[in-house]
Symmetry: C2
Subunit: 425 residues, 2 copies
C-alpha cells in the first residue's frame, strides 16, 4: 500500500481514521484506500484502448439513464389486490450514491393511484377558520417568494418488514426503500395562511389531496406556520405526477403521508379531522391497549446501503461501507458502524457537515478478512435519540406496532462474500 | 396588504428587506408578498372541488415528468452540419427553480456524439510519468472512498450569443443554457494518482475520453491532486450517457469541456498536449494579437431566470425576481439587482448561505408599476470579481473573443409585460 500523506489533501480528509477490522488509529488517507486495488498494466498504446470509431448518438430533448442501468428501478411494486394504483414502490437505495434521489426513483405510496391533473385548472383553496377564504392557482403561487431545501421524505411504514418474525431474504430497497431525499422548492405556507387571516380559534389545518380518495390528514397549525411549504418543484423541475403534480404539501421531517400530494384544500379548524389515515391507519395499538396516534416526526435511522444484499464482496481486502442516515427530530450527531454485530463500533465519517432533515451519506473503511461478519450502523441525532436494537424496539412498542420502526439493521456477511438480511439483536 | 409580522417566521426571513421600485427599507415579510394575490373565494363546499372519482395511474418502475410539462425540454439543439451528435443543447433555466438541474435536462455539448459504452468493458488507465501504470474498472473504483459535492458545470462558450452585434430574440435557455448544477459523486483522483505513483517530472495530466473523437484536454497536476474526482454518479444515480457514462472527470469550477466525459485515459506528462481543444478552440485571440489559452476557471456570473423572455408579466404588482449566480473562482459574496438598467441596485437574498462552485438561487421582490423597465443582476465573488457591463467586457476582451463571456444580462420589460433580451450597457 502506498501512503497518501505525501500529496496535498485539501478536501474531505479526516485527520485520523479508524478502519473496522484493524486495531488502533491510522494516519490520514493511508487506510481509506482499497490498497492496491488498481490493476497493474503495461504502458498502453493508443490501440490498446478501443473507443468507437464512428460518432455517437445525438442530443436529446430529455435524457434518460443508460440502457445498461435498466435494473436500477423502483423496487417491489406492491399494488393492493383489486386496485391498480393503491400501493407502494421503493427507491433502490443500494444502487444509488450521494444523497439526492433521482425524481424518477423517488418512492411511491398512493392510496388511490396517481391522478393526472391539468395544472391550469388546479387550485389550492384555504378556508375554514380564516378571515377570508382564498384560492391560489399556479400563476398566483409564482408571485410569492419561494424557498428551497434538500430534505428527506419517509413513509412511516418504512422498514416495517423487519417486524416479521423471521428475517426475509430481501434487499435494502425492499426493506427500507420508502425513504427518498429531494431538493424541494415552494412557497412557505405561512405566507398564504397569513394572507387568508388566521382566526384565533384555529389550531389545526386539514390538508386534502385531489386524488380519488381525497387523502387527508390533520396538521398542527404550528407546523404550518413554521417550516411547511406548498411545494411546486422537486430537484429543480416541476413536481412529478407521483409526487403530487402540480402541488403538494411538504412537511419537513414528518411522516410521509402528511405531506399531502395533489393538494387542493386546506381547512383551518379547532380540532383534528380524526380521518381514516390518522385513526385506523398511521397509528399503533400499544401493549397497554391504548393507541399511539399523531406520531408526526420520523425517528433517527441509518442504513448501510453498501455492502448490502445483492452487493456481495468479491475477495478479502478493504471495502468502503457506505450508508444513509437521517432524523425527523433534528440533525445527526453521530453514526457508528460495527462489523462484529455490535460488540465494537467505530465512528463513520460524513461528507461535509450533516444537514438537518435530509438524508446524509456516511462512510467507513472496513478491512474484510474473509470470515463471516455482521455489519451494523447506529445513528444518534442532535436530540440525543439513538437507534435501539430490534429486540429493544419490539419490547418497547409491542407486537401490534407497525409504524416508525427505526431499529438497527444487521447485514450478515458470509465467508463467500454473500450478504443477507438477518436479525442479530 | 396584510402584515406578516404577527406570525412566527422561523425560516428564511431576512430581518429587513428592500423592494425594487419602492423607497427605503420595509419590515420583514411585509413586502416580500405579492400582496393580495390570492383570489377571494366563498367558503367552498366539497362539491365545488372536483377531484377525479376513479382511481389514478399505477406505480411505475422509473417515473417521468407530467405530460403537461412536455415543453420543458432542452433548448435549441444545435447539431453541427453533416453530423448527428456534434453540437449542444441547453438547460431550460427559465422553467426550473431551486439549484439542482434534473439530469434529463443537463446541458449537452458533444464533439462526436454520445458513445454507448458497456460498463463491464470500460476501464480507466493511468499511465505516462507514473511509477506503475494502473487500470481501474467500475468494480475496482467502488472499492475507493467517494466524495459527494453539488457543483456547477458550464461550457466556456456559454452566453457567447450576447457577442453578436444585435441582441437576438432569444430566451434565457437559448442564451445561457450551457450551465447546469448536479450532485456529483466519485473517487478523488488524488487517490488513484497516488497509487500509481507520481513521477517527479509530471506536472500535467492529459485526460482523454472514449468518444470517437477522443476528446482530450490537458489538466494541471495540481488540480488533479486538489479537488478533481472521477465521477460515477450524478444526482444520486449512475451518470447519464450524455454526461459520460460510465465515468467522467469532474473538475470543479473549470470550463466544462475539461471535465472529460467517457474518461478512459489519464496520461501524466511534463507539458500540456496542446490539443485541438486547447489551441484552435477554447482559446481566444486577444486585441493585441496574442491568444489567451488555458483559461481554466469560469468567471463570476448571474442570470435572472424569472422574469425572462417568455415569462411575461401579467399586471402591475409585486413580482419575485429569481435567478442563478455562480463563480468558478470561489464563492459568491453578493448579488445585486436593478430594475432601471443599473442606475440603482438593491441586494438580492440567498436561500441559505451561498455554496462555493455551485449554482446559487437568489431572490428579490420587485414592485412593477406597469411601465417599461430594464432588469439586471450583478454578481460579485469572494475573490472580489464583479460582472462587468457588456461594453466593458467587449472593450477588454475584443471582437474575436468567444469564451468566458460573463457580462451583465439585461432583460427589457415592456409596458404590456413582455420581456425581451436587450443590450442596455
Amino acid at each position: 500500500m502506498r501512503l497518501m500523506s505525501q500529496i496535498p489533501q485539501k478536501q474531505n480528509q479526516p485527520p485520523n481514521v479508524r478502519v473496522l477490522g484493524r486495531r488502533g488509529f491510522l494516519v490520514a488517507g493511508t487506510t481509506l484506500l482499497a490498497a492496491g486495488t488498481g490493476t497493474a498494466t503495461s504502458q498502453p498504446t493508443q490501440t490498446s484502448l478501443q473507443p468507437p470509431r464512428s460518432p455517437g448518438a445525438p442530443m436529446t430533448k430529455y435524457g434518460r439513464p443508460s440502457d445498461h442501468e435498466a435494473d436500477v428501478v423502483r423496487s417491489r411494486i406492491r399494488s393492493k389486490t383489486g386496485t391498480t394504483g393503491s400501493g407502494a414502490s421503493g427507491t433502490p437505495l443500494q444502487h444509488l450514491r450521494g444523497t439526492i434521489t433521482p425524481s424518477g426513483l423517488h418512492f411511491e405510496r398512493h392510496h388511490s393511484g396517481v391522478p393526472m391533473l391539468a395544472p391550469e385548472q388546479h387550485k389550492l383553496v384555504i378556508h375554514g377558520a380564516v378571515k377570508q377564504p382564498l384560492a391560489f392557482d399556479l400563476d398566483k403561487l409564482h408571485r410569492y417568494p419561494m424557498t428551497t431545501r434538500t430534505q428527506f421524505l419517509e413513509c412511516s411504514g418504512n422498514s416495517a418488514a423487519l417486524l416479521s418474525p423471521k428475517a426475509q431474504d430481501w434487499n435494502c430497497a425492499d426493506i427500507h426503500g420508502l425513504v427518498s431525499c429531494s431538493e424541494w422548492t415552494g412557497v412557505p405556507l405561512a405566507y398564504l395562511l397569513d394572507e387568508a387571516g388566521i382566526d384565533p380559534t384555529a389550531s389545526w389545518v386539514i390538508a386534502e389531496g385531489a386524488d380519488a380518495g381525497r387523502m387527508n390528514r390533520s396538521v398542527p397549525l404550528s407546523k404550518c406556520l413554521d417550516d411547511a411549504i406548498v411545494a411546486l418543484y422537486q430537484n429543480g423541475e416541476r413536481l412529478r405526477p407521483e409526487n403530487g403534480y402540480p402541488m403538494r404539501l411538504f412537511l419537513p421531517g414528518f411522516e410521509g403521508n402528511m405531506s399531502i400530494k395533489w393538494l387542493h384544500r386546506l381547512e383551518l379548524t379547532d380540532s383534528p379531522a380524526m380521518s381514516r389515515e390518522e385513526t385506523s391507519k398511521y397509528t399503533d395499538l400499544r401493549p397497554g391497549g391504548r393507541a399511539k396516534g399523531f406520531t408526526f416526526d420520523m425517528d433517527v435511522k441509518s442504513i448501510i446501503t453498501s455492502p448490502s444484499p445483492g452487493l456481495n464482496l468479491q475477495q478479502p481486502g478493504v471495502y468502503q461501507i457506505s450508508g444513509l442516515a437521517w432524523s425527523g427530530k433534528g440533525n445527526l450527531s453521530r453514526v457508528e458502524v460495527s462489523a462484529d454485530g455490535g460488540k465494537s463500533w467505530i465512528d463513520a465519517t460524513f461528507d461535509g457537515a450533516p444537514q438537518p432533515l435530509a438524508l446524509n451519506r456516511f462512510n467507513a473503511a472496513w478491512q474484510w478478512n474473509g470470515k463471516p461478519a455482521l455489519l451494523m450502523s447506529r445513528a444518534t441525532d442532535s436530540a440525543g435519540n439513538t437507534q435501539p436494537t430490534r429486540q429493544v424496539w419490539i419490547k418497547q412498542f409491542g407486537s401490534n406496532a407497525f409504524y416508525h420502526y427505526n431499529a438497527i439493521q444487521a447485514w450478515r456477511v458470509f465467508g463467500d462474500g454473500r450478504v443477507e438480511n438477518t436479525y442479530a439483536t
